[in-house]
Protein backbone atom coordinates (compact mmCIF):
# COMPACT_ATOMS: atom_id res chain seq x y z
CA UNK A 1 0.00 0.00 0.00
CA UNK A 2 2.81 2.39 0.93
CA UNK A 3 4.62 1.64 -2.36
CA UNK A 4 1.37 2.48 -4.18
CA UNK A 5 1.14 5.87 -2.45
CA UNK A 6 4.87 6.50 -3.01
CA UNK A 7 4.32 5.72 -6.71
CA UNK A 8 1.45 8.19 -6.84
CA UNK A 9 3.51 10.91 -5.18
CA UNK A 10 6.43 10.30 -7.53
CA UNK A 11 4.15 10.29 -10.61
CA UNK A 12 4.95 6.71 -11.60
CA UNK A 13 2.93 5.12 -14.38
CA UNK A 14 1.76 1.92 -12.62
CA UNK A 15 -0.23 3.35 -9.70
CA UNK A 16 -1.64 6.23 -11.74
CA UNK A 17 -2.80 3.85 -14.47
CA UNK A 18 -4.45 1.80 -11.75
CA UNK A 19 -6.34 4.88 -10.51
CA UNK A 20 -7.39 5.79 -14.07
CA UNK A 21 -8.52 2.21 -14.77
CA UNK A 22 -10.61 2.16 -11.59
CA UNK A 23 -12.26 5.45 -12.60
CA UNK A 24 -13.06 4.14 -16.09
CA UNK A 25 -14.47 0.87 -14.75
CA UNK A 26 -16.50 2.75 -12.14
CA UNK A 27 -17.86 5.11 -14.81
CA UNK A 28 -18.90 2.26 -17.09
CA UNK A 29 -20.58 0.40 -14.23
CA UNK A 30 -22.42 3.60 -13.25
CA UNK A 31 -23.49 4.09 -16.88
CA UNK A 32 -25.05 0.66 -17.18
CA UNK A 33 -26.31 -0.11 -13.67
CA UNK A 34 -30.08 -0.38 -13.21
CA UNK A 35 -30.31 1.01 -9.64
CA UNK A 36 -30.02 4.82 -9.50
CA UNK A 37 -30.39 7.41 -12.24
CA UNK A 38 -28.15 9.79 -10.24
CA UNK A 39 -25.25 7.38 -10.74
CA UNK A 40 -26.06 7.24 -14.46
CA UNK A 41 -26.02 11.05 -14.64
CA UNK A 42 -22.49 11.30 -13.24
CA UNK A 43 -21.15 8.24 -15.06
CA UNK A 44 -19.91 10.05 -18.17
CA UNK A 45 -17.85 12.67 -16.34
CA UNK A 46 -16.15 9.94 -14.31
CA UNK A 47 -15.41 7.84 -17.42
CA UNK A 48 -14.12 10.95 -19.21
CA UNK A 49 -11.82 11.91 -16.32
CA UNK A 50 -10.54 8.32 -16.16
CA UNK A 51 -9.94 8.11 -19.90
CA UNK A 52 -8.13 11.46 -20.15
CA UNK A 53 -6.10 10.57 -17.05
CA UNK A 54 -5.21 7.20 -18.59
CA UNK A 55 -3.93 8.88 -21.77
CA UNK A 56 -1.83 11.35 -19.76
CA UNK A 57 -0.40 8.93 -17.17
CA UNK A 58 0.54 6.33 -19.79
CA UNK A 59 3.35 8.78 -20.67
CA UNK A 60 4.68 8.84 -17.08
CA UNK A 61 7.95 6.96 -16.37
CA UNK A 62 7.71 3.34 -15.16
Amino acid sequence: MSSFITGLLRFRRGPWEMVASILIALGVIMLMQPFAIALYTYSFIITLIGTVMFIIVSHFPE
Partner: protein
Protein backbone atom coordinates in the same frame (compact mmCIF):
# COMPACT_ATOMS: atom_id res chain seq x y z
CA UNK B 1 34.05 -4.55 -68.16
CA UNK B 2 30.42 -5.00 -69.35
CA UNK B 3 27.60 -3.11 -67.70
CA UNK B 4 25.12 -5.03 -65.57
CA UNK B 5 21.36 -4.47 -66.22
CA UNK B 6 21.24 -2.23 -63.13
CA UNK B 7 24.05 -0.06 -64.49
CA UNK B 8 22.27 0.17 -67.87
CA UNK B 9 19.05 1.35 -66.19
CA UNK B 10 21.02 3.83 -64.10
CA UNK B 11 22.72 5.24 -67.22
CA UNK B 12 19.40 5.44 -69.10
CA UNK B 13 17.71 7.43 -66.31
CA UNK B 14 17.55 11.15 -67.22
CA UNK B 15 19.95 13.21 -65.14
CA UNK B 16 17.24 15.44 -63.61
CA UNK B 17 15.25 12.44 -62.39
CA UNK B 18 18.37 10.66 -61.14
CA UNK B 19 19.32 13.72 -59.11
CA UNK B 20 15.83 13.87 -57.64
CA UNK B 21 15.88 10.20 -56.63
CA UNK B 22 19.39 10.41 -55.17
CA UNK B 23 18.31 13.45 -53.15
CA UNK B 24 15.59 11.64 -51.16
CA UNK B 25 16.62 10.62 -47.69
CA UNK B 26 15.32 7.45 -45.99
CA UNK B 27 13.15 9.62 -43.80
CA UNK B 28 11.55 11.33 -46.81
CA UNK B 29 10.90 8.00 -48.53
CA UNK B 30 9.32 6.69 -45.33
CA UNK B 31 7.06 9.76 -45.22
CA UNK B 32 6.06 9.28 -48.87
CA UNK B 33 4.90 5.76 -48.07
CA UNK B 34 3.15 6.66 -44.82
CA UNK B 35 1.57 9.95 -45.93
CA UNK B 36 -1.41 8.48 -47.86
CA UNK B 37 -2.36 6.34 -44.85
CA UNK B 38 -2.04 9.26 -42.47
CA UNK B 39 -4.08 11.44 -44.80
CA UNK B 40 -6.83 8.79 -45.02
CA UNK B 41 -6.81 8.32 -41.25
CA UNK B 42 -7.16 12.06 -40.72
CA UNK B 43 -9.91 12.38 -43.33
CA UNK B 44 -11.93 9.31 -42.36
CA UNK B 45 -11.38 9.04 -38.59
CA UNK B 46 -9.90 12.09 -36.93
CA UNK B 47 -11.74 14.86 -38.78
CA UNK B 48 -15.23 13.30 -38.30
CA UNK B 49 -14.40 12.72 -34.63
CA UNK B 50 -13.46 16.35 -34.05
CA UNK B 51 -16.47 17.50 -36.09
CA UNK B 52 -18.80 15.27 -34.04
CA UNK B 53 -17.41 16.68 -30.79
CA UNK B 54 -18.00 20.19 -32.13
CA UNK B 55 -21.56 19.36 -33.27
CA UNK B 56 -22.36 17.85 -29.86
CA UNK B 57 -22.32 21.36 -28.37
CA UNK B 58 -24.83 22.71 -30.92
CA UNK B 59 -28.49 22.24 -31.85
CA UNK B 60 -27.62 21.47 -35.49
CA UNK B 61 -30.13 19.42 -37.49
CA UNK B 62 -28.81 17.97 -40.71
CA UNK B 63 -32.25 18.02 -42.37
CA UNK B 64 -32.45 21.80 -41.86
CA UNK B 65 -29.11 23.02 -43.17
CA UNK B 66 -30.29 26.62 -43.62
CA UNK B 67 -31.40 27.07 -40.02
CA UNK B 68 -29.12 29.06 -37.72
CA UNK B 69 -26.96 26.80 -35.59
CA UNK B 70 -26.93 27.73 -31.90
CA UNK B 71 -24.17 26.90 -29.47
CA UNK B 72 -26.00 25.12 -26.62
CA UNK B 73 -23.01 24.24 -24.45
CA UNK B 74 -23.47 21.10 -22.38
CA UNK B 75 -27.27 21.00 -22.74
CA UNK B 76 -27.25 17.95 -25.06
CA UNK B 77 -25.11 16.03 -22.58
CA UNK B 78 -27.34 17.07 -19.66
CA UNK B 79 -30.46 15.87 -21.48
CA UNK B 80 -28.93 12.53 -22.48
CA UNK B 81 -27.55 11.86 -19.01
CA UNK B 82 -30.87 12.53 -17.32
CA UNK B 83 -33.09 10.67 -19.80
CA UNK B 84 -34.55 7.46 -18.30
CA UNK B 85 -35.18 6.02 -21.80
CA UNK B 86 -31.50 6.26 -22.75
CA UNK B 87 -30.59 4.85 -19.35
CA UNK B 88 -32.86 1.87 -20.20
CA UNK B 89 -31.08 1.38 -23.56
CA UNK B 90 -27.74 1.38 -21.70
CA UNK B 91 -29.05 -1.39 -19.47
CA UNK B 92 -30.35 -3.35 -22.46
CA UNK B 93 -26.91 -3.00 -24.07
CA UNK B 94 -25.18 -4.13 -20.87
CA UNK B 95 -27.44 -7.20 -20.66
CA UNK B 96 -26.75 -8.06 -24.29
CA UNK B 97 -23.01 -7.42 -23.98
CA UNK B 98 -22.41 -9.37 -20.78
CA UNK B 99 -24.46 -12.44 -21.66
CA UNK B 100 -23.27 -12.75 -25.26
CA UNK B 101 -19.62 -12.52 -24.17
CA UNK B 102 -20.05 -15.00 -21.30
CA UNK B 103 -21.92 -17.54 -23.43
CA UNK B 104 -19.70 -17.15 -26.50
CA UNK B 105 -16.50 -17.54 -24.49
CA UNK B 106 -17.75 -20.58 -22.57
CA UNK B 107 -19.27 -22.38 -25.55
CA UNK B 108 -16.53 -21.25 -27.96
CA UNK B 109 -13.78 -22.50 -25.68
CA UNK B 110 -15.58 -25.80 -25.03
CA UNK B 111 -16.04 -26.36 -28.78
CA UNK B 112 -12.40 -25.47 -29.48
CA UNK B 113 -11.29 -27.89 -26.77
CA UNK B 114 -13.33 -30.68 -28.36
CA UNK B 115 -12.31 -29.87 -31.95
CA UNK B 116 -8.66 -29.79 -30.86
CA UNK B 117 -8.86 -33.53 -30.06
CA UNK B 118 -7.94 -35.75 -32.95
CA UNK B 119 -10.98 -37.66 -34.25
CA UNK B 120 -12.50 -38.70 -37.55
CA UNK B 121 -14.38 -35.94 -39.40
CA UNK B 122 -12.61 -33.23 -37.42
CA UNK B 123 -12.32 -30.86 -40.40
CA UNK B 124 -15.91 -31.47 -41.49
CA UNK B 125 -17.21 -30.54 -38.01
CA UNK B 126 -15.05 -27.42 -37.95
CA UNK B 127 -16.59 -26.31 -41.26
CA UNK B 128 -20.12 -27.03 -40.05
CA UNK B 129 -19.59 -25.15 -36.78
CA UNK B 130 -18.03 -22.15 -38.53
CA UNK B 131 -20.91 -21.93 -41.03
CA UNK B 132 -23.16 -19.43 -39.07
CA UNK B 133 -20.32 -16.91 -38.95
CA UNK B 134 -20.22 -16.78 -42.76
CA UNK B 135 -23.83 -15.59 -43.02
CA UNK B 136 -24.90 -11.97 -43.19
CA UNK B 137 -26.28 -10.64 -39.85
CA UNK B 138 -29.44 -9.51 -41.68
CA UNK B 139 -29.98 -13.06 -42.97
CA UNK B 140 -29.39 -14.50 -39.49
CA UNK B 141 -31.87 -12.00 -38.03
CA UNK B 142 -34.53 -13.00 -40.56
CA UNK B 143 -33.78 -16.67 -40.13
CA UNK B 144 -34.16 -16.51 -36.32
CA UNK B 145 -37.39 -14.51 -36.69
CA UNK B 146 -38.88 -17.58 -38.34
CA UNK B 147 -37.34 -19.93 -35.79
CA UNK B 148 -38.90 -17.89 -32.96
CA UNK B 149 -42.43 -17.87 -34.45
CA UNK B 150 -44.78 -19.21 -31.75
CA UNK B 151 -46.97 -21.14 -34.21
CA UNK B 152 -44.48 -22.56 -36.69
CA UNK B 153 -41.06 -21.84 -35.19
CA UNK B 154 -38.71 -24.72 -34.55
CA UNK B 155 -37.25 -23.06 -31.44
CA UNK B 156 -40.59 -23.11 -29.60
CA UNK B 157 -41.10 -26.77 -30.50
CA UNK B 158 -37.66 -27.72 -29.19
CA UNK B 159 -38.27 -25.84 -25.92
CA UNK B 160 -41.73 -27.39 -25.68
CA UNK B 161 -40.28 -30.86 -26.26
CA UNK B 162 -37.92 -30.50 -23.29
CA UNK B 163 -40.15 -28.48 -20.96
CA UNK B 164 -43.57 -29.92 -21.77
CA UNK B 165 -45.02 -26.42 -22.31
CA UNK B 166 -47.35 -25.55 -25.17
CA UNK B 167 -45.22 -24.19 -28.10
CA UNK B 168 -47.75 -21.42 -28.76
CA UNK B 169 -47.81 -20.34 -25.10
CA UNK B 170 -44.74 -18.10 -25.36
CA UNK B 171 -43.26 -15.77 -27.94
CA UNK B 172 -39.53 -15.15 -27.79
CA UNK B 173 -39.62 -11.88 -29.72
CA UNK B 174 -43.02 -10.68 -28.50
CA UNK B 175 -42.47 -11.03 -24.77
CA UNK B 176 -40.71 -8.21 -22.88
CA UNK B 177 -38.90 -10.70 -20.63
CA UNK B 178 -37.87 -13.13 -23.37
CA UNK B 179 -36.95 -10.72 -26.18
CA UNK B 180 -33.59 -9.68 -24.61
CA UNK B 181 -32.70 -13.37 -24.42
CA UNK B 182 -33.84 -13.94 -28.02
CA UNK B 183 -31.18 -11.53 -29.33
CA UNK B 184 -28.56 -13.04 -27.00
CA UNK B 185 -29.28 -16.54 -28.33
CA UNK B 186 -29.19 -15.46 -31.99
CA UNK B 187 -25.92 -13.55 -31.56
CA UNK B 188 -24.37 -16.42 -29.61
CA UNK B 189 -25.37 -18.86 -32.35
CA UNK B 190 -23.78 -16.64 -34.97
CA UNK B 191 -20.54 -15.56 -33.26
CA UNK B 192 -19.54 -18.49 -31.03
CA UNK B 193 -17.62 -20.02 -33.97
CA UNK B 194 -15.47 -16.88 -34.14
CA UNK B 195 -14.45 -17.30 -30.49
CA UNK B 196 -13.95 -21.00 -31.13
CA UNK B 197 -11.52 -20.30 -33.99
CA UNK B 198 -9.46 -17.90 -31.86
CA UNK B 199 -9.38 -20.39 -28.96
CA UNK B 200 -8.45 -23.16 -31.38
CA UNK B 201 -5.49 -21.10 -32.59
CA UNK B 202 -4.45 -20.69 -28.95
CA UNK B 203 -4.82 -24.38 -28.15
CA UNK B 204 -2.82 -25.40 -31.22
CA UNK B 205 -0.02 -23.01 -30.28
CA UNK B 206 0.70 -24.94 -27.06
CA UNK B 207 3.66 -27.27 -27.66
CA UNK B 208 3.04 -30.96 -26.88
CA UNK B 209 6.33 -31.06 -24.98
CA UNK B 210 4.79 -29.03 -22.13
CA UNK B 211 2.03 -31.61 -21.67
CA UNK B 212 4.60 -34.41 -21.92
CA UNK B 213 6.68 -32.77 -19.17
CA UNK B 214 3.54 -32.45 -17.05
CA UNK B 215 2.77 -36.15 -17.66
CA UNK B 216 6.30 -37.02 -16.46
CA UNK B 217 5.60 -34.99 -13.31
CA UNK B 218 2.38 -37.00 -12.88
CA UNK B 219 0.15 -33.93 -13.18
CA UNK B 220 -3.51 -34.89 -13.55
CA UNK B 221 -5.53 -33.84 -16.62
CA UNK B 222 -7.42 -31.37 -14.43
CA UNK B 223 -4.15 -29.87 -13.18
CA UNK B 224 -2.77 -29.68 -16.74
CA UNK B 225 -5.93 -27.90 -17.85
CA UNK B 226 -5.69 -25.19 -15.16
CA UNK B 227 -1.90 -24.73 -15.13
CA UNK B 228 -1.03 -25.16 -18.81
CA UNK B 229 -4.06 -24.88 -21.09
CA UNK B 230 -5.89 -21.94 -19.49
CA UNK B 231 -2.83 -19.66 -18.90
CA UNK B 232 -1.53 -20.27 -22.43
CA UNK B 233 -4.91 -19.70 -24.10
CA UNK B 234 -5.75 -16.68 -21.92
CA UNK B 235 -4.25 -14.00 -24.24
CA UNK B 236 -6.24 -15.48 -27.14
CA UNK B 237 -9.41 -15.59 -25.03
CA UNK B 238 -8.90 -11.99 -23.97
CA UNK B 239 -8.44 -10.98 -27.58
CA UNK B 240 -11.70 -12.73 -28.48
CA UNK B 241 -13.48 -10.91 -25.64
CA UNK B 242 -12.08 -7.58 -26.86
CA UNK B 243 -13.23 -8.19 -30.44
CA UNK B 244 -16.67 -9.42 -29.42
CA UNK B 245 -17.09 -6.67 -26.82
CA UNK B 246 -16.41 -3.89 -29.30
CA UNK B 247 -18.49 -5.58 -32.02
CA UNK B 248 -21.45 -6.17 -29.72
CA UNK B 249 -21.34 -2.66 -28.31
CA UNK B 250 -22.19 -1.42 -31.81
CA UNK B 251 -24.50 -4.32 -32.69
CA UNK B 252 -27.20 -3.08 -35.03
CA UNK B 253 -28.24 -5.14 -38.06
CA UNK B 254 -29.01 -8.47 -36.43
CA UNK B 255 -31.14 -6.94 -33.67
CA UNK B 256 -32.99 -4.56 -36.00
CA UNK B 257 -33.86 -7.47 -38.27
CA UNK B 258 -34.85 -9.73 -35.39
CA UNK B 259 -36.86 -7.50 -33.03
CA UNK B 260 -36.60 -3.96 -34.41
CA UNK B 261 -35.74 -2.87 -30.88
CA UNK B 262 -39.06 -4.10 -29.45
CA UNK B 263 -41.29 -5.05 -27.81
CA UNK B 264 -41.43 -1.53 -26.44
CA UNK B 265 -37.80 -0.57 -25.99
CA UNK B 266 -36.63 -3.78 -24.36
CA UNK B 267 -34.14 -4.68 -27.10
CA UNK B 268 -33.29 -1.15 -28.21
CA UNK B 269 -29.52 -1.15 -27.97
CA UNK B 270 -27.57 2.11 -27.93
CA UNK B 271 -26.58 1.85 -31.59
CA UNK B 272 -30.23 1.45 -32.63
CA UNK B 273 -31.31 4.35 -30.44
CA UNK B 274 -28.47 6.49 -31.77
CA UNK B 275 -29.45 5.76 -35.36
CA UNK B 276 -33.07 6.75 -34.61
CA UNK B 277 -32.01 10.01 -33.00
CA UNK B 278 -29.60 10.85 -35.83
CA UNK B 279 -31.44 9.69 -38.95
CA UNK B 280 -35.13 9.40 -38.03
CA UNK B 281 -35.57 12.35 -35.65
CA UNK B 282 -32.68 14.24 -37.31
CA UNK B 283 -31.36 15.62 -34.00
CA UNK B 284 -27.77 15.79 -35.20
CA UNK B 285 -26.30 17.81 -32.31
CA UNK B 286 -28.02 15.67 -29.71
CA UNK B 287 -27.04 12.41 -31.38
CA UNK B 288 -23.45 13.67 -31.73
CA UNK B 289 -23.33 14.09 -27.94
CA UNK B 290 -24.78 10.60 -27.60
CA UNK B 291 -22.07 9.25 -29.94
CA UNK B 292 -19.33 11.04 -27.97
CA UNK B 293 -20.56 9.43 -24.73
CA UNK B 294 -20.48 5.98 -26.34
CA UNK B 295 -17.06 6.65 -27.88
CA UNK B 296 -15.50 7.70 -24.57
CA UNK B 297 -16.98 4.62 -22.89
CA UNK B 298 -15.66 2.18 -25.49
CA UNK B 299 -12.29 3.96 -25.72
CA UNK B 300 -11.84 3.91 -21.95
CA UNK B 301 -12.81 0.27 -21.67
CA UNK B 302 -10.58 -0.73 -24.60
CA UNK B 303 -7.62 1.17 -23.04
CA UNK B 304 -7.73 -0.71 -19.75
CA UNK B 305 -8.45 -3.95 -21.53
CA UNK B 306 -5.43 -3.60 -23.85
CA UNK B 307 -3.29 -2.82 -20.81
CA UNK B 308 -4.52 -6.02 -19.11
CA UNK B 309 -3.93 -7.98 -22.32
CA UNK B 310 -0.32 -6.74 -22.53
CA UNK B 311 0.28 -7.75 -18.92
CA UNK B 312 -1.02 -11.26 -19.62
CA UNK B 313 1.22 -11.50 -22.72
CA UNK B 314 4.28 -10.42 -20.73
CA UNK B 315 3.89 -13.26 -18.23
Amino acid sequence: MTDTPVDKVAKATPETMARRIRGLSDRTIAWIFVAPTIFLLLAVNIFPLIWTIRLSFTNYRVNRPNRDVEWVGLRNYERILSDPDIWATMQATAHFLIWTIVLQVLIGFALAFLINKKFRGNDMWTTIIVFPMMLSPAVVGNFWTFLYQPQIGLFNYVVAFFSGADPASFSMIGDVHLAPWAIVIADTWMWTPFVMLICLAGLRSIPDSIYEAAECDRASKWRQFWTITIPMVLPFLMLAVLFRGIENFKMFDLVVQLTGGGPGNTTTLTSIDLKREAFEKWRTGYSSAYAVILFVTVFGLASIYVKALNKVKER
